[in-house]
């Protein structure tokens, strides 16, 4: 499994791929961080919340996650390297986990850069560390769940571009699932409404961003990741059986 993990990381970091994504993320974060400072009109004390920045950045971040995950399985199939992995002594579960942990590492690398801003703020003011940690845990859980979702979508196709487009769409829908569940149309169907609310990740992230760590939210993200990874495993095995 470590060989797969290492190879995946190499493929990210030996190309400008991971650096370009991190730079884009930092650009977004810098904009979110700097815009309230730029709007400051008096010399009053500036108060702002990092958790809000995380909350706002999710909207942009859903476009970055599928770019990390799009090549995970689609490229293996396209290059014909899937046969190398499947005919090796590795089992499919180890392949899925190796790739998952590599994607999570790239995600961590991206969000690690954002820690620079609280550090600068701490040097010049005061940061509520506990709330910041909550926001990071929430952001990490949410991002990891979407990585598992992106990997699943990548296992469905041979084209990385199609995997990215479908990933963007699915994650976009998930982001607005809570709003959809509260719409007038869905309100007419209480069962559907409760189902959509149960699957909506955004309100759960909102709790984290407000400084609450709820066990139910952690269980939700953990179980969603496990289900999505198992589904990815099944999808790969199913494709092997149906391969023509």
């Amino acid at each position: 499994m470590f060989s797969i993990y290492k190879k995946e990381l190499q493929s990210f970091f030996y190309t400008p791929f991971a650096y370009a994504l991190t730079a884009l993320f930092m650009l977004l974060f810098t904009y979110m961080f700097a815009s309230p400072i730029a709007k400051l009109e008096s010399t009053n004390t500036l108060m702002f919340s990092f958790t809000e920045i995380f909350y706002d950045i999710i909207m942009f971040f859903i476009f970055l996650i599928p770019i990390i995950t799009m090549r995970t399985f689609a490229d293996e199939r396209k290059l014909g390297t899937e046969v190398l992995l499947m005919s090796s002594p590795l089992n499919v579960a180890k392949i899925v986990l190796g790739k998952f942990f590599a994607n999570v590492t790239v995600f961590l690398f991206m969000i690690a850069g954002s820690a620079l801003f609280p550090i600068i703020t701490e040097m010049n003011g005061e940061v509520v560390v506990s709330q910041l940690i909550c926001a990071y845990i929430g952001f990490f859980s949410w991002g990891t769940m979407f990585i598992a979702l992106g990997m699943l979508i990548s296992s469905f196709t041979e084209s990385a571009i199609i995997a990215a487009i479908i990933g963007e769409f699915v994650m976009f829908v998930d982001l607005f699932l809570d709003d959809i569940s509260r719409s007038a149309f869905v309100s007419q169907y209480p069962k559907l409404q409760s189902l959509l609310t149960a699957f909506a990740a955004q309100p759960r992230f909102a709790y984290f961003s407000q400084g609450f760590i709820r066990l139910s939210d952690l269980v939700f993200f953990a179980s969603a990741i496990i289900v999505l990874l198992c589904w990815t495993y099944i999808s790969i095995e199913r494709r092997r059986w149906n391969r023509g």
């Binding site: 290492k6 190879k7 046969v83 190398l84 499947m86």
Partner: protein, 347 residues
């Protein structure tokens, strides 16, 4: 020893491989031949554990590829039809990754990578990105990964595709040298290559095995279709009538006029080639016809292959199939009723 038993593969309702069985002995190179779409790559992918089989069993040195895949795959190296390489990796990085997934101990990896690079003569490109390599080099890098860890069973799906003539010769030599302490299954479209490298061949078409034997046995089994070439100086009609009346000549296949009363005949033989050739020469000499050239063309693997592939599959007669499925009780009942009918007729 590698055993393939009743291997079958269906893609939906389409049958790609139909109940094939064969073995690959220790220290043997087995050729796997068939036209495009015959089921060669599907079979190789199933043997390698990449594709699950619909039915059947593959045993690699006693380990079932389905029940104990890790143990079976540890003894196996596979070069698929398209070399499975990562273009963004350097050659050494790629081989190091392959060594990792093949569970070669960390301390031995460097030495093992150097060994396979030397075998495939790819040391000069070890620091290059695979995407910048020629097709031949990519093929050799793919071959090198199959040899990593010195597995005792090697599957090679068209290993010489994309190589230049010098590389082809070297790779063939390498494959032959593997025979010493490996068993190898090797598919190729180049029949001369198979003749040169393999001990036995399996010929497959449309998912069915058409023949399994040594090349020599296959060629002798098809020796009834020998043809004789003879170049003579003399009257065409006279020579033709002598040839036609000689025992063992099946038919004249062609006559070429080469000018100055010189004719080349190609005839199909039906019997012992040497005896027929002697008889024909005696007859021609008796009739004062000058023989300029005479030789028998023995069937080679190519002609055997073409004949086997074009031969329709022999199907059981309907009556044979019915005999097989009619239960004994029912058949004895039929016999009784027939006897009753006979009695009635007698009365």
């Amino acid at each position: 020893m590698i055993t393939i038993e009743n291997l079958t593969k269906y893609y939906g309702k389409n049958r790609a491989v139909n109940n094939i069985s064969f073995t690959i002995n220790d220290n043997e190179i087995l050729g796997f031949l068939g036209p495009n779409g015959a089921g060669k790559s599907t079979t190789m992918n199933m043997i390698a554990g990449y594709l699950p089989m619909t039915d059947g069993k593959v045993t690699i040195f006693g380990s079932d590829i389905t029940k104990d895949p890790v143990k079976a795959k540890l003894n196996m190296g596979y070069l698929p039809e398209i070399p499975p390489v990562y273009p963004e990796m350097k050659v050494t990085e790629y081989l190091s990754f392959c060594a990792g997934i093949k569970r070669i101990p960390l301390g031995k990896r460097k030495e093992e990578i150097a060994r396979v690079m030397s075998l495939l003569k790819i040391e000069d490109v070890k620091g290059k990105l695979i995407r910048n390599l020629s097709k031949g080099y990519r093929q050799r890098v793919g071959f090198a990964q199959a040899l990593l860890g010195d597995p005792k069973f090697i599957i090679l799906d068209e290993p010489t595709v994309g190589l230049d003539p010098n590389q082809v010769v070297e790779v063939r030599k390498l494959i032959k040298s593997l025979k010493k302490d490996h068993c190898v299954i090797f598919s190729s479209h180049i029949l001369s290559e198979v003749s040169e490298v393999c001990d036995r061949v399996v010929i497959i078409n449309k998912g069915d095995i058409r023949a399994i034997d040594t090349i020599e046995n296959l060629e002798s089994r098809f020796s009834t279709s020998l043809s004789l070439h003879i170049k003579v100086k003399g009257q065409k009609s006279k020579v033709a009538s002598i040839i036609e009346t000689t025992d063992g000549i099946k038919e004249i296949l062609s006559i070429d006029d080469e000018g100055s009363e010189i004719y080349s005949f190609t005839v199909q033989l039906d019997g012992n080639a040497d005896e027929i050739q002697d008889k024909l020469m005696n007859e021609l000499i008796k009739n004062h016809i000058r023989i300029m050239e005479i030789f028998t063309e023995k069937p080679n693997l190519e002609s055997v292959f073409i004949e086997l592939i074009n031969k329709p599959v022999q199907k059981s007669k309907l009556s044979d199939l019915l005999d097989e499925i009619v239960p004994e009780d029912e058949s004895s009942a039929d016999d009784d009723s027939e006897a009753d009918d006979d009695e009635k007729e007698d009365n």
